[in-house]
Symmetry: D2
Subunit: 337 residues, 4 copies
């Protein structure tokens, strides 16, 4: 932490800051410049961050210097983490393709879609049994019935299941059926839910919040990791900006940036990221081109009848085209599907 | 819903949309312009919104026209709602002042602060027993012990208690101690939690999410209201923008806008909204000037030692100054404290 | 500038940074922590900011510490600046009210409006002869003819004239007619235009850009001041955020923040800030409540026929109501109108 | 334009809107729903947009339906535009690579860089003779001397020159030396400058403003086109969001979206878009993968000594690596370099 004193800070105000740093078991470093004094506080970062330096008299501002996350950082573990699920992997050379409908609506369409995405080349099947919807009057998901349909789809296709957990009270139930637990964007800072999935022994896809910084995404991953579960897959899915032509602004630069900062796998959801099915293919290809370890794609055999997010769902035929294009680019960047 | 067809949409694409509208029990209205056809879908808005019109061939885009919330809208109930808590009210002529520390840290400081804010003129006491913190390594709150301290503060001061609920599993416990349940900004779209507080018989303060639109805030209120609990107080607490000089950007225009759109009371939290104690007083005065029904203010007797949010906490003396200024402006705009 | 070295930075990388600091005539301060080395570069801030420290090997990041503006800062000049125009002042105890139509459309309406706003209590008359419009097909202003009409309005009412300058080539012409030059939000970083108005001897209203930080606003003011013209009035007029219910998000916290950082007067434009005439009155009152030195209000006798921004214009009768409310709050916060 | 009436709008308010529509030579279409009346205004879009429908009594809001740009739209011209410069093209199958230093600092480094980027495979050379800098105290560019150095670089390498125009007064001079005129992000809505370059016979690179929507970018292109110059190249260069880990948020989804909406070529500037040289390569590859027609890359032989934007500049060796990777992906997506 760097504490910048005001130009007119008194010597006793400066000494007071030094005293506080020392009282907390930290080491102060004082730089006396032409115009003002700058004090560094060196030591245990967790301690440092709990001291509200900028509320002391004479302090202009306090700038944190070090990263607040540890376990998930690339510095903590140099080698990239690859997460095994059955005989698939996320984070290795092999690109992970997670596909399926936004919501599980009924048995028939779900099984049809699962077979189609398997055929198209997906290696994970996704679908929501619990749906976070902006309106209380929208379809909220089938709940446990949906989980059972997902499980049947797995038996029929062999594809491991990815599904969302919204409530810590459902954790046990969802874990019975799912292979990978998804934490949605709106729950990225639902800290109680994070602690809960930190205690289970299943991989977790953590979606970036609509207005969450890269730093906050990593801090939320740290929450999960702090409980023992380090099988975390980060997912860029678009952030909220002033632009309204797309549903969200897909921040692809987050991919190479995250790969630098953390050892965890990073995947991209271009369906929610753009909100338009005709942008999904180009953005999928771009995501793989810049280093993503996988994709999460909404596929629906009849998007115009989907109960949720029809506008951004690909038909199975389009999904096959996507897979071809992604495969070609993956090879060029040294990955396989 | 207005469905704008592409200029080159075929007649059969147009007829298809009309068919879908009619099949869903809605009424189509067709406008054939020079360049393109525009179709209105009239009827039950909940039905309309579930049809992904823009995924049909020939459709350029689909624009929702009506507001998606009902119970909380000003159209549903013309008169402003005033919410009674003991012998206090929020939403009436009388301005509600909710003050206290960010987190309940220990019994001594809490009781000291409660007495001070009562003295200063607050009519509600706030403090967090459960704290949503970005880092898993930061102080997370005292839990039930914190609730008990709050309850003791109420007995000592008579001030009703406002405290945050983060997890549906704590709802019963928190309700035993609290008079008003607070839903934090990061949980504004934790829909399961909203459904839970929708079923209890306590007023709820619903804080606007960091990147939530006014419309989404009202939809989250509608979630609560849809379960029967209409004692909802909306709270503007700053949104996330590109500006970093303040912790958040306090969107005061949300106050008169919300007062127009909904009958629910609207309060403002300038402490989180700005993140700097020296901006809290001017923004409190401004909030009352533009029609807020109350304020939520962080007060701490020793902000420099606070375990959470010290930089934005007022000392009790400053809080007294705030109260004086707020009182003066309240009178001018026809309110009392 | 604080240069944070990577944990694995080599000693020669550290020495290299120290060498660069010294070669530039600056003083290095080295703090060797448990995990990494932090180096402060102390000296002429203008020199420091031109060195791209973070492109050197071994550097993790470089954090600027000091403010990059000088002349406009409160530290440079403790006393608030009051700017005289005829016998009016902006930045003194007296609140400045600048009112008028968005665009000068014709002589008749302009003179009518000028008389009405004078009657209502405005002390400056505004109107655009040159209009920055998103579409090339929208009304672009009357140009010199508009300036002449403004001048006539001044002769009829005695109110000094505020009008926008969009192009350095018009500077001389606009200065012939205008008393205060306005630089619009879209031109806040039109640096050539800033340099131009820095050389003239007229007060300048500098509007905050749609996505400009407080720091950038002050840097743009510094551009003007660097050429000799320090008669600068800063104007908060709303920033661009994800919220679409208002045209912009009026950042009123910018007012007390700017008053702390700079000695220049700060005014608020709630018409552009909100985009809705019915939010203009509450936000005007709030602006004065939190310390604004003045307001800029769009008034049009027939908003529904205005060629620009009709939706956000007040009718003269509403403007009179605004003035009454503003007057009452101004008194309470120790100002007069 | 769709005009949504309030639920309690009176019949005379409805008739008034109809009258206004007809008086302006437009055709009204009335839909009477259960709850409210919706009126469509059909006809000349330029006329429609100038009527402030939402300031009339009884109107809840007015929603524009059609796109406000014409000449630059894909509907106006189905075939993609390819722009010829000497024997290079932008917008054809061949990817355009524009590379060079941010600012022209001196003759020696400029010529060295030009030779290096030519060697690396660039087909255009860029460099700023006029630099828009946030601070008046930063290096502002060499002006005409810089233009002359650029011209010499062209003679030495054969690469056409791209350079920025900041001031309409410099237009003639810059056109003497430059092959392509660049309009910087901060000037995207400097409408006078747009009109000026609309009159010249040189291709124009129009960079997206920091907080400009896709729609506004196209409207600014329309400004240029409206004056006769349709040789416009759009450039995505990152938008301003809440994220601070990157300098801007590079919105790559703008590429396929723009290719759908307009016939104009679209290029990407990942140097400004990310602000970090180590993100430039992955984002360049991603840009080409999702359909960009070209790239604009900052290259500097000694980034650590650059007077502007050193942190985001590639060394020539890194630029060669970039070219190889981009070439490989370009082939896969059916393009050549």
């Amino acid at each position: 932490m760097i504490i910048v004193m005001k130009p007119d800070a008194t010597e006793s105000e400066i000494q007071n800051i030094i005293k506080i740093i020392e009282e907390n078991g930290l080491k102060p470093h004082i730089s006396r410049g032409k115009e003002r004094v700058i004090i560094g506080a060196i030591g245990d970062e967790a301690v440092i961050r709990n001291i509200p330096f900028d509320s002391y008299p004479g302090v202009e501002n306090a700038v944190p210097i070090l990263k607040p996350y540890k376990i998930v950082s690339r510095e903590f573990k140099k080698d990239s983490t690859a997460i095994k699920v059955d005989d698939h992997e996320i984070g290795s050379d092999r690109i992970a393709i997670i596909a399926g409908p936004c919501a599980i609506e009924n048995r028939e369409i779900t099984l049809e879609t699962a077979l189609k995405v398997k055929e198209g080349g997906a290696n994970f099947f996704r679908g929501g049994a619990y749906k976070p919807r902006t309106s209380p009057y929208s379809f909220q998901g089938l709940g446990e019935e949906g989980l059972k349909i997902l499980y049947e789809a797995k038996q029929k296709t062999g594809l491991p299941i990815v599904t969302e957990l919204m409530d810590p009270r459902d954790a046990e139930l969802v874990c019975e059926y799912a292979d990978i637990i998804q934490i949605g964007a709106r729950n990225m800072q639902n800290f109680r839910l994070l602690l809960e999935v930190g205690k289970i022994d299943k991989p977790v896809i953590l979606k970036r919040g609509l207005s969450s910084t890269i730093n906050e995404l990593l801090m939320s991953a740290e929450y999960i990791a702090s409980q023992g579960n380090t099988k975390i897959i980060l997912c860029e899915r678009g952030i909220r900006t002033f632009e309204t032509a797309t549903r969200n602004t897909l921040d692809l630069s987050a991919v190479p940036l995250l790969k630098k900062l953390t050892h965890l796998p990073v995947i991209v959801d271009p369906s929610h990221g753009t909100g338009h099915w005709d942008l999904v293919i180009p953005m999928s290809v771009a995501a793989i081109a810049c280093g993503a370890d996988g994709l999460m794609i909404e596929v629906h055999p009849h998007p115009e009848k989907a109960l949720s997010d029809g506008s951004q769902s690909l038909k199975p035929e389009k999904f096959s085209i996507l897979m071809e294009k992604v495969k070609a680019v993956a090879e060029v960047v040294g990955r396989i599907i």
